[in-house]
Amino acid sequence: MSEFVLLRHREIPGLNQLKTYVANGGFSMWKKVVTSNKPEDLVREVKASGLRGRGGAGFPTGVKWSFLPNDIWPHYVVANADESEPGTFKDRELLEFNPYQFLEGLMLASFAVQANDAYIYFRGEFSQIAKKIDERIAELTTKGYLGDGLYATSYSLRVHTHVGAGAYICGEETALLESIEGKLGQPRLRPPFPALSGLFNKPTVINNVETLANLPYIIEKGSDAFRRHGTDKSPGTKIFSLSGRVNKPGNYELPLGTTFRELIYKHGEGIINGATIKAIMPAGASSTLIPATETALDTPMDYEATSALGSPLGSASVIILDETVNISRLVNSTVHFFKHESCGKCTPCREGTYWMSHITSRIESGKAKKEDIDLLKVVASQMQNKCLCALGEFSIMAVMSGLQHFRADFDARLES
């Protein structure tokens, strides 16, 4: 792709220096946005761009912002930098190498909903990145981009960092809010939704790092320019984190709607040792296993078409499985992940992931009987649609689709 919107640091060396970022158009609109004082213009432009949340849900960002009530204050904006889906490593690259674009996006989002305090929630493993971002926030404050009474207006904006301590569940937005409040990271019952009662029980917008990093481009170049990439319903570019059995894993920024084939064979340079591709997990460990048929490979990676294949696009963490991968082993791995990360709040998830992990371990150890596979299916289907949050629901995706499409891999592990 000739024009990066997000991974611009790959073309511009030193973009993680403020001087370089500003010299390349960074913060060009910030002063104007603040002094013209028309937050509704930002909301309108972002709505028109059709930008959808890049953290996984794909919800239209501008619409999310417009849910905040105008009679309850203060408003908060929270950046979700808790990137922890197995297979996702895109936000980390942005935070390290193009941090100001993310920060500018966070600032624009804050102004759009008139928040005076914004929080960035980092996963605990990103503590060094958080330290760096703290320095950059201090620098922006010294230089007058952040602080009280910006550009002689009445608008003030402070940005704070908050570092987690190792809990996948905190990527779920209400668990994340609990974690900022100093509690266990357990999801809240909804409603009320965060837009009405979020952080400290105040109206809150929670956006993913990549979502926010799109905003400077949209505000500077306009929604039409943004829509030049991608499809009508899934506009813009997306960072695809490609991993698994490919020759060249990595982050690739491509227009939404690019096919799996192009990502895997052109950018990822095909399968290791020229092996045959077996399945695709488009949304990391939370993904359904999609058998890698010709039709699947030619499917455009956008929110609609990927869902039609049977898996949400999620955060576009595309894990590739080839013929050397036994699906029973893989499912054992995803189930153990969710068992470890289950927060323990709701029974179907806490117990379901626990018992599934016992069964998949037994299958892997070669001591299982056919009845165990049936039992695994029963436990998984009993969890379906009964969990408090998406983590529980996601935990059965690989199990159900694995049994459906690759049953032979499980049978091969049974006690003879």
């Binding site: 990137e83 922890s84 889906e85 197995p86 297979g87 996702t88 490593f89 936000d91 980390r92 996963r123 605990g124 493993e125 503590s127 060094q128 704070h160 908050h162 570092v163 987690g164 301590a165 190792g166 809990a167 996948y168 569940i169 974690s179 409040e181 100093g182 509690k183 266990l184 990271g185 357990q186 400290f200 984190s241 490609l242 991993s243 698994g244 894993p249 990595g250 997990m281 990391g284 460990a285 963490s317 894990i319 590739i320 499985l321 991968v325 082993r329 893989l330 791995s333 995803t334 992940f337 068992k339 470890h340 990360e341 289950s342 927060c343 323990g344 806490r350 992931t353 626990y354 992990s357």
Partner: protein
């Protein structure tokens, strides 16, 4: 006397200023990071002090320590070596890599090497799936990523660290008796 407050007055003031004045509980996690940075784990005394600063009970602070995997309530090896073996890393040989390291260190995941220097742990996704096998080292509260590893590379690094840190085991520190006896290793109590 609150030792944490006495030792880090400015840092604690800065942490509390991040949150609304009536929301002091929000400072629990940053304060835990601060306390852990010093000795590699959070002592019972530190938990009491954090509770005092934030106006919550010690039990609430301890439950936060128990819930999050990067908080520790007991001293272990000076270096925590954390290997991700999730799906994407497994597909690049992370499980075999971990098994090899465990054999060389003569310790199972979760255990500490004989000299008390290294605690090897199997952890969940570290968001560097394209550069597996990898591990994260935790020394005090300093986290560092080490990507594209082989057992040889890792062992070489450990040997150089051992020399640099004199291999003095944290285990011998006087604060060991402060550690509570039990610890839940994950939020769901599934372990």
């Amino acid at each position: 006397m609150n030792q944490l407050l006495k030792k880090y007055p400015e840092e604690i003031k800065r942490i509390l200023a991040k949150y609304p004045t009536e929301q002091k509980q929000a400072a629990v996690m940053p304060l835990l990071h601060l306390a852990q940075g010093e000795i590699g784990f959070v002592s019972r005394t530190a938990m009491q002090e954090i509770a005092e600063i934030t106006g919550v009970t010690t039990t609430e602070v301890a439950s936060v320590v128990g819930f999050y995997t990067l908080f520790h309530d007991a001293p272990e090896g000076k270096i925590r070596l954390q290997v991700c073996t999730d799906v994407a890393c497994d597909l690049r040989g992370a499980k075999e890599y971990l098994a090899n390291l465990c054999q060389q260190l003569d310790a199972k995941p979760g255990e500490t090497s004989m000299d008390g220097f290294i605690t090897i742990e199997e952890v969940k996704c570290l968001a560097a799936c394209d550069r597996a096998p990898l591990f994260q080292s935790q020394i005090g509260n300093e986290l560092e990523y080490h990507e594209n590893q082989t057992p040889t590379r890792t062992m070489d690094w450990l040997r150089s660290m051992s020399a640099a840190l004199n291999g003095t085991p944290l285990r011998s520190s006087a604060s060991i008796e402060e550690a509570p006896a039990t610890k839940s290793t994950d939020g769901g109590g599934n372990e």
